[in-house]
Amino acid sequence: MNSFSFLSSLVPTFAPTLAQGPLPQLMSSITLYHYLVTSAAMFCIGIIGFLTRRNLIIMFLCTELMFQAAGIAFIAFSRFHMNHTGETFVIFVLTVAAAEAALALALVVLLFRRKESLDGDAWTEMKG
């Protein structure tokens, strides 16, 4: 169990001074780690999708997946640190996601009208 101890000097331990007390029944036994594992797994699925899929729209959908994973981590930290700032930040994540979707999809439609293809590889001449 001690195989990670060399890493522990690299990582700050968060907020050990939180007050302990009764909790709503529903979340008494799920730890923050559960949520972070879910969030990290979803983020990595998003990254894999972004790297592997060639359809431009699906690539942007994968960035939304990563936003979503970050949102879960934000809300989990917000709840476990008893601070509403995390939830507030998810509102801004939503804002950026909406703006990104509008702009990126407008660009995608433009690119599709030019090449009649959604293949990301069709635009390799732009890599400069």
Binding site: Y33, T52, V96
Partner: protein, 341 residues
Amino acid sequence: MDLPLSPILLFAGCGLGAIGVALSMPRKSVSPYIFGVIIAGVAFGLVMLGLGLKNPEAVPNYYFYIFSAIALAASLRVITHQRPVYSALYFVLTILASSGLYLILSAEFMTFALIIVYAGAILITYLFVIMLATEAPSEEQPDILTEYDRVSREPIVATFAGFVLLAGLTTLFAVGLPNVKPGDKLDAGDRQLAFMSKKVEPILKQAGLLKVGESVVPTRVETTSYGMPKDGDTTLDAIKIKAADGKERLLPRAEWPPTLVLSNTEGVAFSLINNHPGAIEIAGVILLMAMLGAVVLARKKVELDEVALNAAISRQRAGGEDDLGTEGPFARPGTGEGGAA
């Protein structure tokens, strides 16, 4: 150190998940995605079982496992499904499941904001664009899937990279976070009540804690940069009450009526307006710029480039009478007025 999960189990789960995802990516031959999904599901179950066995009282807590399993399975289908429309619909399922996770975390406002904004607005935009930018199926080929949807690019390398990242992230979480316990029910958000005199006053009056002529003085809560209360702050958990003659007294938290609680929406709103007013302005500017940019981009007249134009010409010749339209997206170079200008 007491880790939340044995590292062997964690790495085994990551490896199995990687194999599963790599198998389920679309590829040229028949992709064995059923097996991939099963293997990835086994990996997820292994990790979650390990997490559950480590603290046995976690096992009866089904809701988290149900929602996160649905969210991860649906997001796996987002990246593996060959049809973009289905991918978008699976993404809606991911959104719904993760809003369930938000609900478990008692973030009710964000739960419904997420469903309305993401599933209701953003995903509909995606669906529109997918349907706009997909070639219509013809008579003889009602079931076309383009080549870039059928075959993924470097599935094994990308999956390996992604799951190495996942293993690293979860390992660091395991090292850094096992000590974080959920906080008290009366949380930092409830402390904001001392500032909300308009909300507090009627509740205190109803509970008979506010005498005639007395009023609540809003006091700002001093917190550290982490949002934690400062140590040794005695006025922290108290509401300041001012009598008619100017005398002030403190009502400590122990004497607060049970009806005096801060709802999630009030907490988020308070945090948003009180602590981040500048960020709201910036968010507004971002949305405005995105709207302007989208309008400018969408109005632009596009010339087909050489390859696509030739393809369109030959297709229309084969099609017959239809003359080459100069309007709409298929304007020929030179005839369209807007163009690159």
